[in-house]
Symmetry: C2
Subunit: 159 residues, 2 copies
DNA sequence: CAATATTACATAGAGAGGCTATGCAAAGCA
DNA sequence: TGCTTTGCATAGCCTCTCTATGTAATATTG
């Protein structure tokens, strides 16, 4: 059958495997199919307010060109706008438009809707454990962000 | 600087946000940079043994052409091979080569290595909560897989 | 058994999403 | 002033994913 009960290896692996598969599943089944990266970026801009490209790149752990391209896609949809940074003529400040906030809300609703039936089916104890799990994850994430300030190690594997 | 302590919305959203960011972070910082999708596919083939393309697609919740392309990439690296299915001349059975298993092990090790320092820094209580969290996630995943109506188990024909 | 339908996979085409390398203009600094 | 750094855009190159469609083998049915 499918991929139930994968074998345990070690916590790091298990964690990443679980998150990868959950992500994959959610993005595959979301009804309002806003690409994951765009949802992430919308959410980030929403959180951070008018923000520079480079700040977004850092917060997203991605490269500056990736964010530039992402913002261009958001702009093309009318979801984001940019103003010059009054304090630095090189920089621009990206922020959400009203439509962008609407789209973000819709995407959140849709993604939640995919998972909602599953979550609703959990009993109270499981619900509590899930909340706990999310909290732990966020802690791990925060520490991870802090723990790896400038790890750019990059060996290209020979093809 | 970064994006600590994002606001809570609802469990489904929080869950997906946490998993998305964790994934992103891990893939960004993994030293042995096997693309996520290839790692997923290697792992899947390893789990399922000699497997048809269509079975892999179903297990991965992705389309058949996606798997076809993925397997081709794995083959090009010498990580997977294919044999004709003796019971059906249309089908092929994909399996890992020895090099494929080695690559999978390396990728797992590398991904675990990125997270390991963070996990090691957790105290015993947090570790326990994390293990719990992973378990809950896997349960959610299993239920999610089952809850999706349109991806039914395929007929497994007997010899 | 021949005609038709279904299944398994490949290919084509398109677009998102990611990277590095590089160019350019503004800002910072010597 | 002139050199360096910074902020962003562009270019070029992959991977990953989809839908649509083609082809060959298998299954079904009249």
């Amino acid at each position: 059958m499918s991929n139930q009960t994968p074998r345990r290896t070690d916590p790091a692996n298990d964690l990443l495997r679980a998150t990868t598969r959950l992500n994959r599943w959610a993005s595959r089944h979301a009804s309002f199919d806003l690409p994951v990266a765009q949802a992430r970026l919308l959410s980030l801009i929403d959180d951070l307010g008018p923000t520079r490209i480079s700040t977004l790149a850092e917060a997203d752990h991605s490269s500056q060109p990736t964010i530039t391209a992402g913002v261009q896609r958001l702009e093309a949809q009318g979801w984001a706008g940019r103003e010059p940074d009054p304090t630095d003529a090189r920089a621009t400040l990206v922020s959400l438009t009203k439509e962008g906030r609407i789209a973000l809300a819709a995407a959140r609703k849709a993604r939640a809707a995919v998972l909602a039936p599953v979550i609703d089916a959990l009993d109270a104890g499981e619900r509590a454990r899930l909340d706990e799990a999310i909290t732990v994850f966020e802690e791990v994430l925060d520490r991870a962000s802090l723990a790896v300030p400038n790890l750019q190690a990059q060996h290209r594997k020979e093809a």
